[in-house]
Symmetry: C2
Subunit: 338 residues, 2 copies
DNA sequence: CTGAAAGCGCTAACAA
DNA sequence: TTGTTAGCGCTTTCAG
């Protein structure tokens, strides 16, 4: 079935292409009767504008790329959802790009725009460093997510990881915990997230006049809950004494819950646990998980807003936006006195 | 910065556009020296083919749409990941379309292709019925996912829900359960999934010579774990006696675990629980969840394969493919004798 | 307010 | 093996 073209409609309606185009775009200055007859021709033929052709003519694709390490990680899938919804609201379509933390895939991300595929890119890098991004970016409208250090020329949205970690510690302190551990220092983790969270953890303790204890920082071989469960079990079995734990993310927290429960340690009575990211996972655990809650909706909105400005020509220096976070209090570290 | 065009490269290299095009496409019959000098011109200018223009000329977009109810539901995000990976391997990009179970959004899905946006669509409908899909489909290459009844003209990939439910029941029977409940009949649920699963549940019981008991089919007001936890609690408090439960999906199963645990009922000793979809959630619960495991990777591959065939011109009648499933055995309904 | 025609950058059929 | 040229369908000056 041959595609119906603007010219076909014009011919049937007995007007020029321009007039049809005006009708399609709701251009105000069209005689009502003309508009009507053109509309009839459109309906009769079932005309749909060809987006590819429009793009070629306008140079705008109406699409943005969303590039993340893993689309099925709860944090990213939840964030994706907000970005997808916000993008739709703004008239953009989203193409997803999964990097799987692979350097090449991350490099490829920045090339899409050059090929005219998308108008802009929202990118959560984990492997590429500041310099590489700056070098490859050229004039691609780009907004970075996450805690990596970023080029000064690039927009960036994140939450304040340090103060969030401090909040976690304070919450645990308010519950009476004094020997607070940090779970989730992964070897070769090149994102800045862990660093910042660990920094905040220390800052929170020092601020409360509590001495730091290296034994309370638990390393974990990889990002799985299994690994963190083992890390906790190991700590327990070498007699480390702790009554609260700040986890690098919810998956670690889940591992912690499992390790503690398996060892007969009561959560939150013996050890209170705080996760990070407030993913849906935290509602499904036993006990449910108290977790640092980045304002994901806000994160998505701000990222889209900055990107839209770049796409519309903003050329200024990189803007760094910090969006709010809170603590989602559930059973693993309940409100004080409850 | 002006875009570098094929013509610019041709001019610099002193050849025709066609020759440049041949080099870009690795067309074999190009004189080595020519190829080299053209390549130099390409590199020097930093030429990137404009995909939009190519599309307009070829009529192929190289993109497929993936339309699902919710991208952050674990089942869908896991499936998306497989589809995204398979699509990348096949040279397609994926654009995501979240319908949020909205009829209008579902209708819109089938229009993308008409607008020349994508070459084909993988679609998991929940609101549209057979007739509507058939009517709107026209000649869009389309593969349907899920358990809705589908038009005979449309390709469709699913698992055998009935036999999977039978498998669940058999597993529970092998653990000694005899009063097996079904959790998750949602009012106004217009997908065929529940029906088929419920049918299999009955079939499994009847096959084992166990009389059906309507009291053991638990209705749930909505799809949240909270609702199903309440449903279980309600059943318990009205004295319904059961020792096993087949759940419509993992979220219901999680609710069941919570309701049972809260009531002091031991899982799996007092009541064994089987979920559905084998989402990552099941690894995070206490106890971990035994669950029907659709072969998601296979599902993705088959869907992509069928779609690719349609895109490449296959015009035959709708093909219905059943992909394998298994039972992921974890603690909520362990292996017999363990 | 409407019409004609020149691109947008690439592909592919046809020549050479 | 390489060059020419006519589209792909829409937008957008610029006349009228």
């Amino acid at each position: 079935m041959k595609q119906v073209r603007l010219a076909d409609v014009a011919e049937l309606a007995g007007v020029s292409m321009k007039t049809v185009s005006n009708v399609v775009h709701d251009y105000p200055h069209v005689a009502p009767q003309l508009r009507k007859s053109v509309q009839e021709a459109i309906d009769q033929l079932g005309y749909k504008p060809n987006l590819t052709a429009r793009r070629l003519a306008t140079g705008k694709t109406g699409m943005i790329a969303l590039a993340m390490p893993e689309i099925d990680h709860p944090y990213f899938s939840e964030l994706s959802r907000h970005i997808a919804e916000g993008a739709t609201r703004r008239g953009y379509r989203v193409i997803i790009e999964q990097t799987l933390s692979d350097v090449d895939a991350e490099h490829a991300v920045l090339k899409d725009r050059e090929a005219g595929l998308v108008d802009g890119v929202i990118f959560h890098p984990v492997r590429m460093n500041t310099l590489e991004i700056a070098k490859l970016r050229r004039d691609t409208p780009l907004v970075l997510l996450g805690e990596s250090t970023t080029p000064v020329t690039t927009d960036h949205v994140m939450i304040d990881n340090v103060s969030a970690a401090v909040d976690s510690v304070k919450h645990l302190l308010s519950l009476g915990s004094r020997r607070i551990a940090f779970l989730g220092v992964v070897e070769h983790d090149i994102t800045g997230s862990t660093d910042q969270r660990l920094l905040g953890y220390q800052q929170g303790l020092v601020g409360a006049g509590i001495a730091l204890n290296p034994d309370l920082v638990f390393p974990v071989p990889d990002f799985s809950p299994e690994a963190s469960a083992e890390a906790v079990t190991a700590a327990l079995s070498r007699g480390v004494d702790f009554d609260g734990v700040v986890c690098r993310d919810d998956k670690f927290a889940i591992g912690a819950l499992r390790g503690l429960t398996a060892a007969g340690v009561k959560v939150p009575d013996d050890v209170a646990v705080v996760g990070w990211d407030n993913t849906a996972l935290g509602s499904y655990t036993t006990p449910t998980l108290t977790s640092i809650a980045p304002d994901k909706l806000r994160l998505a909105e701000v990222a889209l807003e900055l990107l839209a400005e770049r796409i519309n020509g903003y050329q200024g220096i990189g803007r760094h936006r910090v969006v709010p976070h809170s603590l989602a209090v559930r059973h693993s570290a309940p409100a004080p006195g409850s």
